[in-house]
């Protein structure tokens, strides 16, 4: 029998814990990491003055943002305008339910090993677009609306290649459960980074586009659209958009780790450490790309998705199927 009150308590604790982890590690130190890596790549120092080596920079920024007045444009749709950042932040949290962090003895550290884990992840990551579109539309600002609409066309276009990569992996592993997929990868060369290399490339490109990062950051292209869909957002609501974005980026990195790099598996070091190492490797890759490449044009972006990644994904699924069947 299920002990409902205990389960609810456990769920509340885990949700609060993971949300705090995301807010502190992914968003606060993620932003700092991004700025430090950016500085390093461009031969400058990055944040340096607040705390030792600038470690407390984003904490100070957060405290500043807490004291900022909330300004909403009079022309905006107030109800939608105020809920949109919440949607983005919650969607960023939800993907983490199915991410296995490691093992403790025999138990796998995962919030819930859903039997449809991979589908759930794809579904949650596509909710973000609703928040972004709602925010862009409700602002009643031309830049924000353009950013929101661009975001919608971009995210639906890249959702398909992302799903193709997920299906190819699920096909090879024979399960949709994220824990099952990690268990299907035995040893270094058994990890799907080798057997599913094209799927990994498709996944990483599509993931970069799904989280609106350079070179696919058209929705917020700051040199043409001010700040895109969050042009009108101030203070903490702006910070919530950032939180959702970074939570989503870390979720994508964690999912890439789970699907292709063998999740928590590795010699000598504890499983949790391996998981974090691999996840930060992917996060570093995202940041490296961001500070290296210029932005795509919208037609190039859509061409890449529809004319390259989507057919390639379908063909790769059939190749995987052929290999498994014969």
């Amino acid at each position: 029998m299920v002990n409902w009150p205990l389960e609810i308590l456990k769920a509340v604790g885990l949700a609060a814990g993971i949300f705090t982890f995301l807010a502190v590690v992914a968003a606060m130190f993620g932003v700092l990491l991004e700025r430090k890596i950016g500085g390093w790549i461009q031969s400058r120092l990055g944040p340096k003055h607040v705390g030792p080596q600038g470690l407390l920079q984003t904490l100070a920024d957060t405290i500043k943002l807490l004291q900022k007045e909330h300004i909403a444009p009079r022309a905006a749709d107030a109800a939608v305008f105020n809920t949109a950042p919440l949607v983005v932040a919650v969607a960023g949290l939800m993907s983490w339910i199915v991410i296995p962090f490691g093992t403790l003895g025999e138990r796998v550290l995962v919030v819930r090993d859903l039997n449809i884990g991979v589908v759930f992840f794809a579904a949650m990551s596509s909710i973000t677009v609703l928040g972004i579109l709602a925010g862009g539309w409700a602002s009643n600002n031309k830049y924000a609306l353009l950013g929101g609409l661009r975001s919608a066309s971009q995210m639906i276009s890249y959702e398909l290649p992302l799903a193709m990569a997920l299906i190819a992996v699920a096909l090879e592993a024979g399960t949709l459960s994220t824990v099952g997929i990690v268990k299907a990868q035995e040893g270094w060369f058994g990890s799907f980074a080798f057997r599913q290399f094209p799927a990994m490339v498709i996944f990483l490109v599509a993931a970069t586009a799904e989280v609106n990062r350079v070179p696919f950051d058209l929705p917020e292209a700051e040199s043409e659209l001010v700040a895109g869909y969050f042009s009108e957002y101030t203070g903490m609501r702006f910070a919530l958009f950032q939180l959702g974005e970074y939570a989503e980026m870390f979720a994508m990195a964690a999912m890439a780790t789970t699907l292709f790099l063998g999740g928590w598996k590795g010699p000598v070091l504890p499983p949790l450490v391996w998981f974090l190492l691999k996840m930060y490797l992917i996060v570093f890759l995202f940041m490296w790309v961001r500070w290296t490449y210029p932005r795509y044009r919208l037609d190039q972006l859509l061409n890449l998705s529809w004319k390259v990644l989507l057919p390639a994904g379908l063909v790769w699924i059939m190749i995987t199927g052929y290999r498994m069947a014969f």
């Binding site: 769920a11 919650v90 398909l160 001010v226 057919p311």
Partner: protein
């Protein structure tokens, strides 16, 4: 066990909303409130905004939207197929080859007709 799984999903959504709204409550308590009509103006690079953003304009990607719906439905078929693949083996492969082949033909048709061009 399935019900417990979805209990966790529900709790995560509710707790996530509360946790995300907490800093907004802090802002309400801490931040100043000094509203001026100028502050509430829509931002348009510093000039007085011209009309509304909610005007009629050409949403150019509706064709992409249509093609997306077709392929998204296809993806829904591919997930269960990937799971039962081991049970059926070669036959499952042949059947899906035909299905995916038809869809690829559809994509080629949309491509040739220019539905995938941003013009």
């Amino acid at each position: 066990m399935l019900l417990v799984d979805w209990l966790y999903v529900g709790v995560f959504a509710v707790v996530g909303l509360i946790m995300a709204a907490l800093p907004l409550a802090l802002v309400w308590a801490l931040a100043p409130r000094a509203s001026l009509p100028q502050k509430q103006m829509t931002y348009e690079s510093g000039v007085v905004p011209f009309g509304q953003a909610w005007a009629q304009f050409n949403v150019r990607y509706y064709l992409f939207g249509l093609v997306f719906v077709i392929f998204d439905v296809e993806v829904i078929y591919l997930y269960p197929w990937a799971i039962v693949f081991r049970t059926y083996g070669g036959w499952a492969f042949v059947v899906m080859l035909i299905f995916v082949g038809i869809l690829l033909l559809g994509l080629a048709h949309a491509w040739r007709k220019g539905a995938l061009e941003w013009t």
